[in-house]
């Protein structure tokens, strides 16, 4: 029997097994779930072994002579000290390095791109709106302005949400909820797309009901 046919049937049966959870939890689903978890754990292990450990630690250091990578290898070994009770404290150093390095990189990156550039964009866009670029644009940009400011007020923790400040924060909450609704709609599309992909596979590749 062709291995492609076996693979297709296996994939189809596993798909249906996972989908059977929609009816209720059952042995068929449990078997498929266990297979999925086991294979995914194994796949990640193999990927990290070959793409990170082998490629960097062995090929990079030993064959290509990039000794700077030894630093990373040493930190990785230190992390494994977690498994040994008495010297487990050694693992805190590489952890501190990872947290610190990521914080250092992300701090300015988030500050410039997510804070300053967005403030620049909000002020800029509203400038264009008042330059007379059409009623739709003007209303849109005013909405963005109100949403941005009231949203910031909602997330301001140094003042109790009472009185006028509380009222503005309430408007911010409404903006947030409307945004969540729009985002939810986008995600419904995403979920349907993923299900569509699976149904397409079942109908086209497995059952051959669709060309």
């Amino acid at each position: 029997m062709d291995s492609a046919i076996i693979g297709t049937w296996l994939a189809a049966l596993l798909t249906l097994g996972i989908m059977s959870f929609l009816y209720k939890d059952n042995l068929y689903y449990k078997i498929c779930e266990a297979i999925f978890i086991g294979i995914s754990a194994g796949l990640w292990f193999i990927t990290y072994f070959w793409d990170s450990l082998y490629r960097i630690a062995w090929i990079g250091v030993v064959h290509e002579g990039r000794y700077v990578l030894l630093g990373g290898v040493v930190l990785g070994v230190m992390m494994l000290m977690r498994l040994f009770g008495k010297i487990g404290w050694i693992a805190r150093w590489p952890l501190a390095f990872i947290v610190g390095a990521t914080a250092g990189l992300k701090m300015m990156v988030y500050f410039t791109t997510n804070a300053m550039a967005q403030i620049h964009g909000t002020v800029n866009d509203t400038m264009a709106a008042f330059g007379g670029s059409g009623l739709y644009d003007v209303v849109g940009r005013i909405v963005i302005l109100i949403g941005t400011v009231t949203g910031l007020v909602y997330f301001y923790f140094s003042k109790e949400h009472k009185g006028l400040f509380g009222g503005v924060a309430k408007v911010g909450t409404w903006f947030l909820m409307i945004t969540f609704g729009a985002s939810f709609g986008y995600t419904v599309m995403s979920r349907m797309s993923l299900l569509l992909g699976r149904i397409d596979f079942l109908l086209t590749d497995w059952l051959k009901l669709v060309k």
Partner: protein, 406 residues
């Protein structure tokens, strides 16, 4: 007759010679300062300097066009580079119409270069005089980001100030976070029903600040769980989170005077695969039927799957994440949601740790600056464009310059 034939031959010879001569290309090499025949244009002036605010390896070439672009037959400017150390020359680029500068990014910091710019007009090249010799170099400070530095220092300064104030014992005011009461209620309900609590600290690793916030709240929940002898089940996706979470829960049990009740299996690694992890969490929910589910950390597409399954088993669910794309699902499917920064505020509130409290207050300073700048900027722009006010225009330009990121 013979004379006529000779004259005819001569005429044919002369006319065909003239015809052949007319077909010859009229390309000629001009001296450096000469212009295409028929024009009185001056020379092209070329300036070359090290490109500002870069990491080296780049020279900026600029030139003034005395009018070659307006001539018919203009095809562009050819940039010619000479490495003065090795003596080699090559053409670098032909720039299109309207361009009077070029960043040559294929130079070495170890050499000096000289540039010539030639206007290409009707297949003639009008060369400029060579520029001064220039060497590229890296700059240690990007001057375009000066305001980023200043504002960064202001906000970091505010954070440090508030952290130090908190360390000295100053009470820092934080508004009430309504979700914290829901956390206590959820733990209480699980204890009453004698069913376990499920805690998921997100699917990211320890380098994500949301995971750290989730683990801080875990510490507070674990203390309550230890006191009431409720079971806690915490599946994790990353091994580092597993070790950190085990430490957190163990510390909580020790603090509550119940070290014997702690078990390493309370926190268990499942898989790195995103949907494999959520399949396992769903399985735990459906089989163990926890009374309370906590989803506090960074989540991605699996959030709705977990929240919906928890909803279907009737568990009380409290979620918190700073991932904007996942908040809608938690808001829809959970009993209470800590939205965005409320997760960090809850973490700071529960831990009372000066660093977390101070950071939150410092971030509030940043938010206040953002609100003021946006409002002032909009008002200034409106007045500037409506009434041509110079002072408002100055404010607008200042704000634009301050918040430009390069």
């Amino acid at each position: 007759m013979l004379a006529l034939l000779r004259i005819a031959k001569l005429v044919v010879f002369i006319s065909s010679s003239l015809f052949v001569i007319s077909l010859l290309p009229t390309h000629s090499v001009h001296s450096q300062d000469a212009s295409p025949s028929g024009s009185n244009l001056g020379p092209i002036t070329v300036r070359a300097h090290d490109t500002d605010n870069d990491a080296g390896g780049s020279v900026t070439v600029e030139w003034d066009d005395p009018g070659y672009e307006k001539m018919s037959g203009f095809a562009g400017f050819l940039i010619w580079r000479t490495n003065t150390l090795t003596g080699t020359s090559d053409s670098v680029e032909v720039t299109p119409f309207g361009t009077h500068s070029y960043d040559d990014r294929s130079v070495s910091d170890d050499s000096t270069y000289s540039y010539l710019v030639a206007a290409l007009v009707n297949s003639e090249r009008v060369m400029s005089a060579p520029s001064m010799q220039v060497r590229s170099a890296k700059q240690w400070f990007d001057s375009r980001l000066t305001w980023v530095l200043i504002l960064g220092l202001i906000i970091c300064g505010a954070v440090i100030y508030f952290i130090e104030s908190a360390k000295r014992g100053t009470k820092l005011f934080l508004r009430r976070i309504a979700g914290l009461e829901a956390i206590d209620e959820a733990v209480g309900r699980a204890t009453e029903m004698g069913r376990p609590i499920l805690f998921v600290a997100g699917i990211q690793d320890m380098d994500d600040v949301q995971t750290i916030a989730g683990l801080t709240i875990l510490g507070s929940i674990a203390r309550t769980v230890a006191e009431y002898d409720t079971k806690i089940n915490m599946p994790v996706r990353a091994s580092l989170v597993m070790t950190a979470a085990r430490e957190t829960i163990k510390h909580a049990y020790v603090t509550a005077g119940r070290p014997d009740a702690y078990n390493d299996d309370m926190v268990h690694y499942v898989t790195d695969e995103q949907f494999g992890f959520v399949a396992a969490v769903d399985g735990i929910m459906v089989r163990e039927r926890p009374a309370a589910c906590f989803f506090l950390g960074a989540f991605f597409a699996e959030s709705l799957i977990m929240a919906e399954t928890g909803n279907s088993i009737g568990a009380i669910q409290v979620a918190g994440t700073a991932m904007p794309a996942q908040l809608p699902f938690f808001v829809a499917a959970c009993d209470y949601t800590l939205i965005g920064e409320e997760l960090f505020a809850a973490s700071a509130y529960l831990s009372g740790e000066p660093r977390q409290l101070g950071s939150l207050k410092g971030a509030d300073v940043g938010k206040a600056i953002a609100m003021i700048v946006i409002l002032v900027g909009v008002i200034a722009t409106t007045i500037a464009s409506a009434w041509n006010s110079e002072s408002m225009l100055w404010i607008e330009n200042l704000l634009r310059k301050m918040f430009s990121t390069g």
